[in-house]
């Protein structure tokens, strides 16, 4: 019988000098919680994580941006509603919608901020059961052409942590139909819908495919022993995807 280590050894960092040259910014707002985790996921993927502060007026020449999870401004008023006015958000919106097509990933609170900033359609309301829910969540990959999903196979099922209170994705029927017709639903929940999200939508992408937002947390599934069931590393694909994009492999 093989003796599998229970947690696994240290994370193998890819030895590829091209990767380390990729600079991926991680934005911190007051109340951001998963910024260190997102930076760790970037490092695990071999790229260089760059700390960005919401009040900064420059993107510090980063090649991509992650807006991590948390409760920026305490989710007061409405999740993401205050953060989207941060000086850096203006820069991110400009860069994401310009010809440069800056890859932007919004995770959880980051997704909420992206919808508030109108980079992605729809909105998140309180979970239908009204409780905070933390669990390991199976997602089905429904789009594998975006900057953040191209390393996955279409239809692949991945398990990453889900943890939020305002995770119910809503949009009007027309928007939902359009998202589906244009292949912009990036991930759907598999099994029981954890929060009442319309059409089981867990994450979406913009039309250009450079901006992706989702409620579950891929950055918490990148190291053996610290993710779902203490084994999962299914979230690594997000970070290898963006490196594929940046290095022109896809």
């Amino acid at each position: 019988m093989t003796e599998t280590p229970l947690i696994g050894g240290a994370v193998q960092t890819p030895v590829d000098s091209r990767l380390a040259g990729a600079r991926i910014g991680v934005v911190t707002f007051p109340g951001t919680l998963d910024d260190r985790d997102a930076a760790r996921a970037v490092r695990v993927s071999g790229a260089t994580a760059v700390e960005l502060w919401h009040g900064d007026s420059s993107l510090s020449d980063v090649d991509a941006v992650i807006i991590p999870g948390g409760f920026s401004y305490g989710d007061y008023l409405r999740a993401g509603a205050i953060s989207r006015f941060a000086p850096l958000m203006g820069k991110i919106v400009d860069a994401a919608t310009s010809n440069a097509k800056l890859p932007v990933l919004g995770i959880c609170n980051g997704f909420q901020i992206l919808t508030e900033a109108h980079l992605l359609p729809g909105s998140m309301i309180k979970n239908d059961h009204l409780l905070f829910l933390c669990r390991d969540q199976v997602l089905r990959v429904e789009n594998n052409t975006s900057s953040w999903t191209n390393a996955y196979a279409l239809g692949e099922e991945i398990t990453v942590p889900l943890k939020n209170q305002d995770g119910q994705y809503i949009a009007d029927e027309k928007t939902l139909d359009a998202l589906e017709a244009e292949g912009r639903v990036a991930f759907r929940y598999v099994g029981s819908n954890p929060n009442g999200s319309r059409r089981d939508i867990a994450g979406i992408t913009n039309a250009a495919g450079n901006v992706v937002g989702l409620m579950p947390h891929p950055e918490h599934a990148v190291e053996h022993g610290y993710g779902p069931a203490h084994t999962g590393t299914d979230g690594r694909g997000f970070f290898t995807s963006v490196l594929n994009t940046l290095l022109g492999d896809k």
């Binding site: 019988m1 003796e3 599998t4 280590p5 229970l6 947690i7 696994g8 050894g9 240290a10 007051p30 109340g31 919680l33 998963d34 260190r36 985790d37 760790r40 009040g55 999870g69 948390g70 409760f71 401004y73 305490g74 989710d75 007061y76 409780l131 905070f132 829910l133 933390c134 669990r135 942590p161 943890k163 209170q165 947390h217 950055e219 918490h220 190291e223 022993g225 610290y226 993710g227 069931a229 203490h230």
Partner: protein, 778 residues
């Protein structure tokens, strides 16, 4: 409290917002009636204040003494007993202790320049009055204690004890407290990695909401709460001061609940987790830049506590101007400002050259601050209101030299009769399960019972992932957090208590709590290093309760000595009772252990087909105080025997086996006995097992029911890879530790098969185990 209850000084004109009771006025008007009784002081205590000051206190001074001399802040009833935790510490136990009892939290050396600080506290009374805010601010308060030591908080845990699961008020308290812990803790970015959930009618009118926080730091970052250095500036920062929680410590924590008294709701604090999160990051940036000389969080007794403790611990005095405090409610009186327990505030001492750098950190995080005064060399704590002195005291008399009581205590008259009332042979034991069908039904009933059922419904409301360092969380025996990403250095934490055991025998009950927490930590493979305790008891003015407290402290301190791990901090919560009925004595014990590499940690369930399952330890017919007896409505007799050297041996075996890769899963046996452990280990990774109990039953001379349900201590079940069996057997045999191979992991079976008795499908077990909490609260 209304502001009119504090004495008014001479009206000095319409310009003044209040009639301020200055020191000068107090000297001039010695005979003014003061509301000391309403503020919770006893006659003798008030007389002491007058003696210490040589005059009557001003209204502001009275406010300070009343909160700081309250049971909650002064430990006046428990101090004489708590000394044992210090007196029984051997040099060996001290070797890794960097900061001991007395500071905001103890600090333990982890090696490689790392240190860890942890502490457990109660927030019981507020959580009954207003469950959401009470529980939320309980987390907030303990987290600020951890920050005050210079550490980054990395995880929280919360042991909870509520009333009967089916009582209508339990849902109110349960929903509120769980939502409060989640709402606050989740927003701070601290993973919640464990705790306890116990239902018992004894906690109906007095639930226990305890909170533990753990933080890590480099040795050089350790900070202490003292104000030193003449001319250094005193600054208050964080949230503004409001009217919440005024007198909370003195009024709530020292009074038992009685339905005839008016609602205490105004004395509960309101939390703002966003403000706390920003405060954490802001403080860590201050520490990183070495911008503060001393720091203290504001918790119970607010500014009274922070100023007097900082000044008392320092080498000089302190002078502050109270009108500089930023207020949320401008109508607050000086006494109220001193007593306010508004959350998310910190006080720091900053040298003049660091003032500008300090301010720029505040500005970056948009945290409000105000400079209140400075450190002096007078040895006095002077507080002014618009320049007039309203407090002039020796800070030691406020913070440290409060009253100490030698409360009378005696073994209760009823204790002997209680201990003579054994479960075996009692009326409640009339229909003990014996047939296969009865035993299967009993196992299903046990794992669905309120105390043994799955706690997923609660723990799924807590973020266990944030931070990315959680190597293990509930339902494993202990939470495990990685400290150093490069080396894998980490810590394990478990909290345990059994109020029924402690009620039956306070001395041994407290030791059993420690034994279980120690065992839980060792089960994961971590080496136990330090203890923090939250002593929840009834009124110390009741000699029965005082005896329970004294015995528990004696038991706990003796056991710490045998196990070789020191108590580094904790908290005492008294007056936990409804009317004249005290709660079961509930010393909640937290044990912290260390891993050189958390990659070696052992989970509580098996998953590899074919691995051998061993039962370590022997089983005796110990049913008194057990979950089974509890389910049958019996509480009497003697708790399971304590054997600390056996616990130590078991711990060493589990730790060595984990380190050397001899076991892939380990689960301690405690409440619910072997039956609960077998089910939990099977459900952990949804992997079945085939088990035979005939051999251990014959060896130990007990029947199958007893093997399954007795709560004998010093036991664990482990799963051993085939290739390691010889080595594992040899290790246990060499140590003369009893072990028996009771089964094998059977992944294909999808069932727990107790051979010759019954087979229970995992789905059937899961449905029973996970259905209970949603049924009552979902």
């Amino acid at each position: 409290m209304s502001e009119t209850s504090l004495p008014a000084g001479p009206a000095t004109g319409a310009l003044k917002k209040f009639n301020i009771d200055t020191v000068e006025n107090a000297e001039a008007t010695p005979d003014v009636e003061l509301p000391w009784a309403e503020l919770g002081l006893k006659q003798n205590e008030f007389d002491d204040v007058v003696k210490v000051l040589g005059r009557r206190p001003t209204g502001a001074e009275l406010a300070m003494y009343s909160v700081m001399w309250s049971e909650h802040c002064s430990y006046k009833s428990s101090k004489n007993h708590l000394r044992q935790f210090g007196e029984k510490v051997t040099p060996e136990m001290k070797k890794d202790m960097l900061v001991g009892i007395g500071e905001n939290a103890g600090v333990t050396n982890l090696g490689d320049g790392w240190a860890v600080t942890f502490k457990i506290e109660s927030h019981n009374s507020p959580s009954f009055v207003e469950p959401y805010q009470g529980a939320a601010t309980g987390i907030g308060g303990i987290v600020r204690d951890i920050i005050s030591m210079g550490a980054r908080p990395v995880a929280v845990m919360d042991p909870l004890r509520f009333g009967a699961i089916d009582h209508p008020d339990t849902a109110r308290v349960m929903h509120g407290a769980v939502a409060g812990i989640g709402g606050y803790g989740n927003s701070l970015g601290l993973p919640n990695i464990g705790g306890e959930m116990v239902f018992d009618p004894i906690y109906q009118g007095n639930p226990l909401v305890n909170a533990l926080a753990v933080g890590v730091m480099r040795h050089e970052d350790i900070r202490l709460a003292n104000a030193s250095g003449l001319g250094n500036k005193v600054v208050l920062f964080g949230a503004r001061t409001g009217g919440d929680g005024i007198g909370g410590a003195s009024v709530l924590a020292s009074e038992s609940f009685d339905s005839t008294k008016p609602s205490k709701r105004p004395a509960v604090q309101v939390g703002d987790p966003f403000a706390e999160k920003v405060l954490i990051e802001c403080c860590l940036e201050l520490f990183k830049g070495s911008l503060v000389e001393g720091i203290q969080d504001l918790g119970a007794a607010g500014i009274s506590c922070a100023t007097s403790e900082l000044a008392s611990n320092g080498d000089g005095g302190m002078e502050v101007e109270l009108t500089s405090v930023l207020l949320r409610d401008p109508s607050l009186t000086p006494g109220e400002i001193l007593m306010s327990e508004s959350q998310e505030r910190m006080m720091a001492v900053v040298s003049p050259e660091n003032v500008a750098a300090f301010e720029s950190v505040m500005d970056k995080w948009a945290v409000e601050y105000s400079w209140l005064g400075e450190v002096t060399d007078t040895g006095r704590l002077i507080i002014k209101w618009e320049g007039e002195v309203i407090v002039d005291v020796d800070p030691r008399t406020v913070a440290h030299d409060g009253p100490v009581y030698d409360r009378p205590y005696a073994r209760p008259e009823w204790q002997d009769a209680l201990q003579a009332d054994h479960f075996t042979g009692s009326v409640q034991d009339a229909a003990r399960p014996a047939t296969s069908e009865e035993l299967k039904a009993a196992v299903l009933e046990l794992i669905a019972s309120p105390n043994m059922c799955s706690k997923d419904w609660i723990t799924n409301q807590y973020d266990r992932y944030v931070g990315g360092n959680t190597a293990q969380a509930f339902p494993d025996d202990a939470g495990v957090i990685r400290v150093d990403e490069e080396t894998g250095l980490g810590v394990a934490l478990a909290t345990d208590a059994n109020g029924r055991y402690t009620y039956l025998d306070p001395y041994h009950g407290a030791q059993l709590a420690l034994s279980e927490a120690y065992r839980n930590v060792a089960t994961t493979g971590a080496i136990p290093m330090a203890v923090s305790d939250c002593l929840n008891f009834g009124s110390p003015e009741n000699p029965d309760v005082m005896w329970q407290l004294a015995e528990s402290i004696r038991g706990l301190s003796d056991a710490c000595q045998v196990l070789g791990i020191p108590v580094t901090g904790g908290n005492v919560s008294l007056y936990n009772q409804t009317g004249s009925i005290p709660i079961h004595p509930s010393p909640v014990v937290a044990v912290l252990g260390k891993f050189d590499d958390v990659a070696r940690r052992t989970p509580s369930g098996w998953k590899e087909d074919g691995q051998a399952i061993y039962l370590l330890g022997t089983t005796a017919a110990e049913m008194d105080g057990s979950e089974w007896a509890n389910m049958r409505g019996h509480l009497g007799g003697l708790p399971p025997a304590v054997d600390l050297s056996r616990e130590r041996e078991l711990g060493e075996i589990l730790i060595n086996a984990s380190r050397d890769g001899m076991i892939d899963s380990a689960h301690d046996l405690s409440e619910g006995g072997l039956a609960a452990a077998l089910v939990e280990s099977s459900l952990r990774f949804n992997t079945g097992a085939r088990v035979a109990l005939g051999e251990v039953s014959a060896r130990d001379g007990v029947d199958t029911f007893t093997i399954l349900f007795a709560e004998t201590q010093g036991r664990a079940i482990v799963a051993v890879p085939r290739s390691e069996e010889v080595r594992f057997n040899d290790m246990c045999t060499a140590r003369r530790f009893p072990l028996s191979r009771i089964g094998v992991v059977d992944a294909a079976g999808a069932a727990l098969d107790i051979q010759g008795l019954f087979t229970a499908e995992l789905d059937e077990l899961r449905e029973a185990h996970e259905g209970t909490l949603p049924k009552y609260f979902g």
